[in-house]
Amino acid sequence: MAAPGLAAYLILAALVFTIGLFGVLTRRNAIGILLGIELMLNAVNINLVAFARFEADLAGLIFTLFVIAITVAEVGVGLAIVIAIFRVRRTVDADHLNLLRG
């Protein structure tokens, strides 16, 4: 049996992505939803690195670096928003955050 091919990595990333999607859809807590988003971004990174390896293209690696840095910024701002919401509403339950509902 040869070393795992590109398809193996892509299927693995797809599984992680859909697990993260499941988390985003089902979590009530806003921080839990952020965790799901982290998983989905992570799965995309696996895809990028896998293509960079199998296509021998450097752009995938650089794009992964950018995705990681942007994710860090996103987590910082997202958690700041969560804390700000928590101060005002005393909850981080996404179901109760319906202030902007028309």
Binding site: M1, P4, G5, L6, A7, A8, Y9, L10, I11, L12, A14, V16, F17, T18, I19, G20, F22, G23, L25, T26, R27, R28, I31, G32, L34, L35, G36, L39, N42, N45, I46, V49, A52, R53, F54, E55, A56, L58, L61, I62, T64, F66, I68, A69, I70, T71, V72, A73, E74, V75, G76, V77, L79, A80, V82, I83, F86, R87, V92, D95
Partner: protein, 163 residues
């Protein structure tokens, strides 16, 4: 079976187990610990794909930075509310059906498409990567710095207390 296949199988199991832990554990704090495990497993996947530099970046930024910030946020919100955030999921069946449908779509696409076989890439591409980052991708790198500063200011602005 080659060693690489064995390691890939083990890492894939760890990654999938950690991911399931993240979305299924009732305790949010445990979910973050599972996320740390999944992120470390992803770092090992990067190592399998000959991206040693990204392995280090993943460990430092994700498993180090992001997890720490998440733990801080959970501690802060728990401390403020004075009780553990136990958390239940909702719409589990709908979410599972939706996720399974998305997976079937992606997997079908992967199976039907003709993927390239492995080209013999150089083992360590860190030098190449560094040259590209300060060469053709330098403007993007600068923009990334601006983004990080903006995110820092935004986070401070949102989370500051009125005084």
């Amino acid at each position: 079976m080659t060693l690489e296949t064995v390691v890939f199988g083990l890492v894939a199991l760890a990654l999938l187990g950690g991911s399931l832990g993240v979305v299924l554990t009732p305790n949010l704090f445990h979910a973050v610990l599972y996320l740390a495990g999944a992120l470390v497993a992803t770092a090992v996947v990067f190592l399998l794909l000959d991206a040693a530099f990204l392995f280090a970046v993943q460990l430092l930024l994700y498993a180090g930075g992001v997890v720490t910030v998440l733990v801080f946020a959970i501690m802060l919100t728990e401390r403020l509310i004075g009780e553990h955030i136990t958390q239940t999921n909702r719409h589990i069946v709908n979410g599972a059906v939706m996720s399974a449908a998305v997976f079937v779509g992606i997997a079908g696409f992967i199976v039907r498409s003709s993927l390239p076989a492995a080209e013999s890439a150089p083992a360590d591409r860190t030098v190449e990567l560094a040259r590209a980052l300060v060469g053709p991708f330098a403007p993007t790198l600068e923009l990334l710095g601006v983004l990080l500063v903006a995110a820092l200011l935004g986070a401070v602005y949102f989370a500051r207390t009125e005084d």
